[in-house]
């Protein structure tokens, strides 16, 4: 056995190493430092179809992540999906007539909400609704339309 002082130093080093490892996992490996999801203001977008959109999916503008999907609900009067977006506090000046669309990252990637800026002088406030929305592309519908058009074209000839 070592002397007591050496044991104290070694245990101190062990605990420090453990805490440093936790810190590295938090800051370098996980997204704690990169994007603080805590503070943001809510905006509401209504879609006819959200496809495979998930809670916590990114919200981007010009390809830059400015928020995330906070909640997804369903309105049983208009039969629309009600998507609540949480936009980071620092982006307060989104024009009132901005549009929201659901896109897919890559061919098979996850779905995200993309915002396009409008030209209105007034800005969106917390809990405002987007006036223009574009639903997710559902592959089956697309193929269905394509087949329908192909059949129509065939009948004309």
């Amino acid at each position: 056995m070592f002397q007591n002082k050496n044991i104290e130093i070694l245990v101190g080093m062990f605990v420090t190493a453990g805490l440093v490892a936790l810190f590295v996992l938090a800051m370098k490996v996980s997204n704690l430092a990169a994007f603080n999801d805590g503070d943001g203001y809510p905006l509401v977008a209504r879609f006819d179809n959200i496809g495979g959109l998930k809670v916590r999916a990114p919200v981007t503008m010009a390809g830059v992540r400015i928020g995330r999907v906070e909640a997804i609900g369903f309105d049983d009067e208009t039969f629309e999906a009600v998507v609540t977006l949480s936009i980071s506090e620092q982006y307060q000046r989104l024009p009132k007539d901005s549009g929201a669309s659901i896109f897919t990252a890559g061919l098979l990637g996850e779905q995200y909400v993309a915002l396009e800026a409008g030209g209105d002088m007034e800005n969106l406030q917390a809990n405002d609704e987007f006036m223009v929305t574009q639903s997710a592309l559902v592959l089956e519908e697309l193929i269905g339309q394509f087949l329908f058009k192909a059949a129509e074209g065939g009948a004309d000839e």
Partner: protein, 257 residues
Amino acid sequence: MLWLRRLGRSGLSFFERLGRAHLFLLAVIAGLPSLLFRGRLLLLQLYAVGVLSLLIILVSGLFVGMVLGLQGYNTLVDFGAEESLGVMVALSLVRELGPVVAAWLFAGRAGSALTAEIGLMKATEQLSGMEMMAVDPIKRVVVPRFVAGAIAMPLLAAIFSAVGVLGGYLVGVGLLGVDDGAFWSQVQNKVGFYDDVVNGIIKSVVFGVVITWIALFEGYDAVPTSEGVSRATTRTVVHASLAVLGLDFVLTALMFD
């Protein structure tokens, strides 16, 4: 008739043992406040359980991460997705391999030592000696080891995961030529702090408590002969490893739905 009786006897002794194990845990929990006056004992046990396990954790973590990097790269490169290598390595380490493999190593390295130590104390009647001197062996011997195990395990698992990610980074970026920036940005994008890192820590705390409990109980309940202690040590490693696997399934099902 005889086999039925044997079956009944083994069933009864199983449940007796299970009951003793839980009474033992209750006694340990009741003895926790006494540790406040005995910080020195906790320090010594943290050294025995934590510092001495550090080497095996560091080496295994590094190599597990490096192997994950190599194998993951071979699969991902077919899809042109080798930038996701970091995500694969980090997620599998932080969620599963870090807590679970560190727990197995902990059971083998520290758990077996705890059982053998306490079993031998019992066989050489040191525990009865303490009772004769009105020293509660649970408070004096068991509680510091229990708390040390519960503290050391999450720290060891965190070290394992961090070193493993470093190993994956060394192989992926250093050896196989994955882009440095893409590696880390993908990792930070996909690994959540609360969803992944904190859940991994919760897992490792649970594993630490269960492994130390099993190890201490096996030692305390060992037949006080050299054969009995050796059997108890074996049982500790086997039961603790199986318990970690079973609990890992339950915790994963609860956490990552």
